[in-house]
């Protein structure tokens, strides 16, 4: 089965690669191919459409100013399931695309033990074993996979309503749907923060598709080693010596 998925992903990456392109300048590395980027932003659009239309259903007294975007409360409610389906569908493709690099390893368990150092910024360089994705990214990925399954099941129950599934099922589904949304709402703040101002140099990986080598050896050293064949710590030390020398001479 996994080979069939691999073939599908390879084909998708090739065909999207022939539509768009990724320019990688000297001193840069290819991070995300066109297919991944298109999927990411399609998922993002559906996520925010579903989120903002969902706000109007969640707490209309607080978020009623969101609903006019969708043509009023009833229309926001009517369109919300379709936005949700789009989100789940395209994230499903992204999940297939990223399934392999997202597999949890012992390195990730170690990373989670040291999460305090990562958050406090004490450790400037990621541990040398951190690969294409770090444990934090993997947690978020698997949270969204689980959330999508929860959304899909409870969402269909809420969509079809009490006449199909019974009133108690609907009432319980509504709580699970809400909790899943709240977790993702909290997660999206962290996701946006870390991919923009929180870790400068990251945003371009999802727009242009390329990142600087310094970014790679700082945040994903094992991945850097894999694609360049060079030692990330050694590369860092060299760059640091060079920079120190420049500062001394100036």
């Amino acid at each position: 089965m996994s080979t069939a998925i691999d073939r599908f992903d390879d084909k998708a990456r090739r065909s999207f690669g022939s539509i768009g392109r990724t320019e990688v300048y000297r001193g840069e590395l290819l991070r995300h191919p066109v297919y991944t980027r298109v999927l990411h932003w399609t998922v993002a659009v559906f996520f925010f459409l579903a989120l903002f239309s969902g706000f109007g259903i969640y707490l209309p007294w607080l978020f009623r100013w969101f609903t006019p975007i969708f043509g009023g409360g009833p229309l926001a409610r009517a369109m919300h399931p379709w936005f949700g389906l789009g989100f789940v569908l395209f994230f499903g493709l992204q999940a297939l695309n990223w399934f392999r690099p997202m597999v949890w390893t012992r390195t990730d368990t170690e990373w989670m033990k040291n999460i305090k150092k990562e958050v406090s910024g004490e450790e400037k360089l990621e541990p040398a074993e951190t690969g294409f994705f770090n444990a934090g990214q993997k947690v978020q990925f698997w949270e969204i996979v689980g959330g999508c399954i929860a959304y899909l099941i409870t969402g269909i129950i809420l969509w079809m309503g009490a006449s199909t599934f019974g009133r108690i099922t609907v009432a319980v589904s509504y709580v699970i749907h809400d909790i899943s949304a709240l977790i993702m709402l909290g997660g999206i703040f962290i996701h946006i923060y870390l991919s923009t101002i929180g870790e400068p140099g990251t945003f371009q990986s999802m727009t242009r598709g390329a990142v600087s080598e310094a970014w790679a050896w700082t945040f994903h050293p094992a991945w850097y080693r894999q694609v360049t064949g060079r030692d990330p710590r050694q590369a860092y030390e060299e760059a640091k010596r060079k920079m120190d020398a420049e500062y001394k001479s100036s």
Binding site: V119, L125, R167, L182, F189, G198, S212, Y236, A239, K240
Partner: protein, 298 residues
């Protein structure tokens, strides 16, 4: 009722003594009494409801009973349900029950509704839907123990019996009451209706072969503003899904009023969290960074 209080006589010119009726007022809860033992299934109330509320008469559905259609619809709020019940002695009891909104004292639809002002409960006990505020999420359907609210896919809003709040507000009885030829439907204050229902149930117990006759006014939802006299109050289910102990799902009480605002605030704290992370710890930059300034920083 409000304007009647406003136009109460306070002072009268050239009148000796106290003004008649001054200071008197009576706040009461309205109630509809349905005596299922005297209902003849004529469906006059169904027609009166459709007529008064100016709804187009929708096609009926024949399902091998005398019932007009299997369930109420968004434009058909009042339905006589016909049920055949076999008694232990093998004889058949033909039950007719007027199915409509029960106007609960503790309404599950109102508890479930997230939309501001879409469902209101008046001081007289009537529970009414304001369709202009309804967003059509249909949570009220799952909140209702009696399966009453009905969704209209064309307007994307939910509708149900209003207890003729427009008529009651003008001092008139609901349309169904006015149409009933046998007097099995009565309308008045909750206290009066409870009294009449109790007397009728006592009569049934004492003078008819109905030792279990009683009044249906379920206390699990604080009572209802539509009450029934039943041949056998121990088994209301036989009247076509009339629950013995109607309840509101816990998720609409605990989750909505307690957990929802707290956890919503918590999720928004994520925003504050990343903001203060930025201003305190600051961003992580690709290394190496320029050397730190001597004597600078904390």
């Amino acid at each position: 009722m409000a304007e009647r209080k406003t136009f109460q006589t306070q002072r009268i010119s050239g009148h000796s003594g106290a003004s008649p009726g001054f200071g008197m007022q009576r706040d009461f809860q309205v109630c509809k009494l349905v005596d299922t033992t005297t209902c003849i299934g004529c469906k006059a109330c169904e027609v009166a409801c459709v007529e008064w509320n100016d709804m187009p008469f929708s096609p009926t559905v024949f399902d091998n009973t005398y019932q007009t259609m299997p369930e109420t619809r968004w434009n058909f709020w009042n339905l006589i349900k016909f049920n055949e019940h076999q008694k232990p002695d093998g004889t058949i009891q033909w039950l007719m029950r007027k199915d409509q909104c029960m106007h609960c004292a503790d309404p599950g639809c109102l508890a479930a509704c997230p939309a501001d002002g879409a469902i209101v409960q008046y001081a007289n006990g009537i529970v009414d839907f304001n369709q202009e505020n309804c967003i059509g999420c249909e949570f009220c359907v799952s909140g209702c123990p009696f399966d009453i609210p009905r969704f209209n896919p064309a307007t994307k809003k939910v509708y149900k019996c209003t207890l003729c709040s427009d008529r009651v507000g003008q001092g008139l009885e609901p349309a169904c009451i006015k149409a009933c030829p046998t007097g099995c439907l009565k309308f008045g204050t909750k206290d009066d209706m409870k009294f009449i229902a109790g007397e009728r149930a006592k009569q049934l117990r004492d003078h008819f072969d109905m030792p279990n006759a009683g009044v249906y006014d379920p206390q699990s939802i604080g009572g209802t503003h539509v009450i029934y006299v039943l041949h056998d109050a121990t088994d209301p289910e036989r009247y076509g899904h009339l629950p013995k102990n109607p309840t509101i799902p816990w998720s609409y009480t605990i989750w909505k009023w307690l957990a929802k605002p707290i956890l919503g605030t918590f999720a928004l704290f994520g925003l504050l969290g990343v903001f203060f992370h930025y201003v305190t710890v600051g961003p992580r930059r690709p290394q190496p960074e320029p050397p730190q300034r001597e004597g600078g920083g904390e």
